[in-house]
Every structure is written in structure tokens, then in C-alpha cells.
């Protein structure tokens, strides 16, 4: 367990160092000549007419995020069950069946309410 943490940390640090080295190398290699047109926000070649692009976006993105939270937690809950499933047998299977049925009911409810419909 401790060695796993050491490995993870070393990988993270090495990754950061390699990224920094590549960015540094590219800084040495490249020439910088920023011009007005280059620094403009790209809009297919015409001057920027959109203004602030951070507009309101559709509520759907948020709702799908909520659905993910529900089902990802469910997934995390089922994983340990799946690992030991062989030794648990029928009882655990029926229990998980009830759990999944409740969630499927939720999904079906969202479906009927039109949450999954992208308009």
C-alpha cells in the first residue's frame, strides 16, 4: 500500500517535470511575434463579433451531471459486491436485484419525465 502511494507520487512528479521540460524546450526553440490579429479570439477569420462567449447554456448538461452522480455512486457500491459475489450466493443476488430495481425505477422516471430527451 505504501509502495503504491510512493509510485503514484513519483509518477505524478515525473509527469509534471517532463511536461515542464517539454514546455521549456519549446520556449527555447520557438520564436514569439505576437501580433494583434494573432491574439484575437478565433472566429473563423472575421473580427470578434460575439462578445462574451460565456453565455447561458442548456440545463441538460447540469441534469446529466446529476444523473452521473447517482449512477456513479451506484456503480461504486456494486463493485465490492461483484468482487465477493461468488461466495455470497442467492441472498446477495436478490438484495442487489432490489437495489438495482429501485435505481432502474429512478431512471425510468427520469426517462418518462423527458429528462433524457435532448431538444
Amino acid at each position: 500500500m505504501v509502495s503504491a502511494i510512493i509510485y503514484f507520487t513519483v509518477f505524478l512528479i515525473v509527469g509534471i517535470i517532463v511536461v515542464a521540460a517539454m514546455l521549456g524546450a519549446s520556449k527555447l526553440l520557438q520564436t514569439r511575434q505576437p501580433t494583434q490579429a494573432k491574439l484575437d479570439t478565433y472566429e473563423c477569420g472575421v473580427p470578434n463579433i460575439t462578445g462574451d462567449p460565456r453565455i447561458q447554456f442548456k440545463i441538460h448538461y447540469y441534469i446529466f451531471g446529476l444523473l452521473l452522480v447517482i449512477f456513479d455512486v451506484e456503480m461504486l457500491f456494486i463493485f465490492p459486491w461483484a468482487v465477493v459475489f461468488k461466495s455470497l450466493g442467492l441472498f446477495a443476488f436478490v438484495e442487489m436485484l432490489i437495489f438495482i430495481a429501485i435505481l432502474v425505477l429512478g431512471l425510468f422516471y427520469a426517462w418518462r419525465k423527458g429528462v433524457l430527451k435532448w431538444v
Binding site: 510512493i6 513519483v10 511536461v19 519549446s26 443476488f93 433524457l116
Partner: protein, 335 residues
């Protein structure tokens, strides 16, 4: 890691603290994995261009080196020496951090991938969860890239990407459950170890769901909604150039490598194959490249989905299918 136990014994005999040895091995391993990553990405980009050319009856890169093999080295030098453009309106720090955050999780996620019986950097008990969870952090990088660029195409692309990755995360994880139930472990080497018959034959539904959602997770055609070049210019990396663009490329191809490697580990018997044991990594690579070729084949033959079709497929088809798969597997195992 290979033969690390004998090295640890050696260390304790010579009075070297174990963490020093551990750290130095980890250092070497991480550099090796990075080098392999770089090589893999180069091979994949070359392969992608050649496969694309082949499907469209063209030659592809031919001029630099024998059949264009050196083209990619030329390309990466070109990308490294290109000017980094920071758009005037971009949020400086978010814009700079985003490509790193796309690349790093993909790289760290490779830590648990077993390519041979003892060829694995760290064999975690929760390897499967690790390999699902860590690369998923890359979504944050994609969203940051969109919001940092201050560009309408980038923002639309990043929002789509977030919605899509979020939607396919669920069926992808659920499709694996059947394999975990049969193998009785979430350790990747243990899953391969129990695969005397490939799990693709025991879990055909799981395999299909996993493959489709992996394609969606890695933003490959037909699910490349985040970067549809005909509507969103280039999606979330519209404003990026030079080295930072290279990191996005890296992240994407490493994700493809990791996805196909995971498919091989879970469904195609990992390193198992005829012949002596030292051929194990070769078998693994052959299977992995077969899956990668399949992904490229799909990319160059199928048109792109619309966003509503992508969402429908994820939530209304793949998710129920994955749950059904868990149900059937459980039922068969209980009876």
C-alpha cells in the same frame, strides 16, 4: 514490478532503507512508461494516417524516410518549435493548466496496466477502479480548456465533451461488472490470470457495451462531438497551438491505448497466447493493436452522430444493456 521482491531482499541485506529503493525503482519505471507512451503515440499517429490513407485509396505520408516513418519525428519537432499563442482574452492560468491536466491523468492511469505475467508497474487490489477513476480526471482538463480559451466554439465543445464523457462513464463501468463477478477480483493481473477462456465469449454484451463506451470516452469518431470540425472548428482545442496542442494529442492517444489495453485485459485474455512465456507481451501488443485498428476502422468508415443520438444511445440503450448484463451474469452464476 518485475522481480521487485528480490531487489527488496537485496536492499534489506545491505542496510538500504526500503523507501529509497522503492522511490528509485519508481523513478526508473515512470521514465520507462513515459518513453513507451511517447513511442506508442508516435506509432499510433503514423498508423492512423496510414490506415486513413489506405481506406481512402491514398498513399499517406511517403516522403520523409522509408514510407514516411520519420514524418512523425519531423511533425513533433515542428510542433515543439511552433509559437505558443495566448489569446488576449484567455484566462491565463486555466488556459495554461488545461493541456497538462488532460495529459497527466492519462499518463498516471497507465501505472496499473499489466502487459505480461510480471510486467506491471504497480499491481493494485483496486486496479480496475483506479484505471476507471484516474483517467476520468481528464474531463476537468477539457472543461478548463473550453472555459479558459474564451471562445464560443471551445466552450460549446467542452460542454458537449463533459456531457458525453459523463454519460458514457456509467455504462462503461457497469459493463465491466460482469467480468469482475466471474473473476472475483478487481485486480487486473488476477482477472487475466483467471481467463482460461476469454471473457468475450462469456460476456459478449459486456464487451460490446464496453467497446462502444470506450470509443465515446476517448472522443473518437463516431462520437467526436467535442471537436466536430464542420460545426465547432476544432472544439475545445481551437485556441491551442504548439506544445500545448501536442499535450492534447498525447492525452487523446494515450486514452485510446489505455482503453484498448483495458479491453484486452478484461475481455481478450490479456497476455495469454500459445508459445513460451516470454512471448506474453507480444501477444498482449498484438491484441491491443487489433482493437486499436478496429477503432481506426470505425473512425474512417462511419459518419458522426448528432448530440441527441449520442445521449440517447448512452442512457437509453447502453445503460439498460449493461444492467441487463449484470442481471444475466448474476442469474447464471447463482443457478
Amino acid at each position: 514490478m518485475l522481480s521487485s521482491s528480490s531487489l527488496l531482499q537485496f536492499a534489506s541485506h545491505n542496510g538500504m532503507p526500503i523507501w529509497v529503493l522503492n522511490t528509485s525503482i519508481a523513478l526508473i519505471m515512470s521514465l520507462v512508461v513515459f518513453a513507451l507512451c511517447g513511442l506508442g503515440v508516435l506509432i499510433l499517429v503514423y498508423m492512423e494516417r496510414k490506415v486513413a490513407a489506405d481506406m481512402q485509396l491514398r498513399w499517406g505520408p511517403m516522403h520523409v524516410g522509408w514510407h514516411g516513418v520519420l514524418q512523425l519525428i519531423a511533425d513533433s519537432v515542428k510542433l515543439l518549435s511552433k509559437e505558443d499563442i495566448f489569446p488576449r482574452n484567455a484566462d491565463r492560468w486555466i488556459f495554461r493548466l488545461a493541456p497538462v491536466l488532460v495529459f497527466l491523468p492519462a499518463f498516471i492511469g497507465l501505472m496499473v496496466m499489466p502487459i505480461g505475467p510480471h510486467l506491471v508497474v504497480q499491481d493494485l487490489n483496486v486496479g480496475l477502479l483506479y484505471v476507471l477513476a484516474v483517467p476520468a480526471i481528464g474531463v476537468a482538463g477539457v472543461i478548463m480548456a473550453g472555459f479558459g480559451s474564451y471562445n464560443k466554439y471551445a466552450i460549446l465543445g467542452s460542454l458537449r465533451s463533459a456531457a458525453q464523457m459523463v454519460s458514457y462513464e456509467v455504462p462503461r463501468a457497469l459493463s465491466i461488472l460482469g467480468v469482475v463477478m466471474i473473476a472475483g477480483s478487481a485486480k487486473l493481473t488476477a482477472i487475466v490470470g483467471t481467463q482460461h477462456a476469454w471473457y468475450i465469449f462469456l460476456q459478449p454484451i459486456g464487451f460490446v457495451v464496453f467497446l462502444v463506451s470506450t470509443l465515446a470516452e476517448t472522443n473518437r469518431v463516431p462520437f467526436d462531438l467535442p471537436e466536430t470540425e464542420s460545426e465547432l472548428v476544432n472544439g475545445y482545442h481551437t485556441e491551442y497551438s504548439g506544445t500545448r496542442f501536442l499535450f492534447f494529442l498525447f492525452g487523446e492517444y494515450i486514452a485510446l491505448i489505455a482503453g484498448s489495453a483495458l479491453a484486452v485485459v478484461l475481455f481478450l485474455g490479456g497476455w495469454h497466447g500459445p508459445g513460451p512465456e516470454f512471448l506474453a507481451p507480444v501477444w498482449f501488443l498484438i491484441k491491443m493493436f487489433a482493437i486499436i485498428y478496429l477503432a481506426m476502422w470505425i473512425r474512417w468508415t462511419l459518419p458522426r452522430f448528432r448530440i441527441d443520438q449520442v445521449m440517447d444511445l448512452g442512457w437509453k440503450v447502453l445503460l439498460p444493456l449493461a444492467l441487463l448484463n449484470v442481471l444475466i451474469t448474476g442469474l447464471i452464476m447463482v443457478l
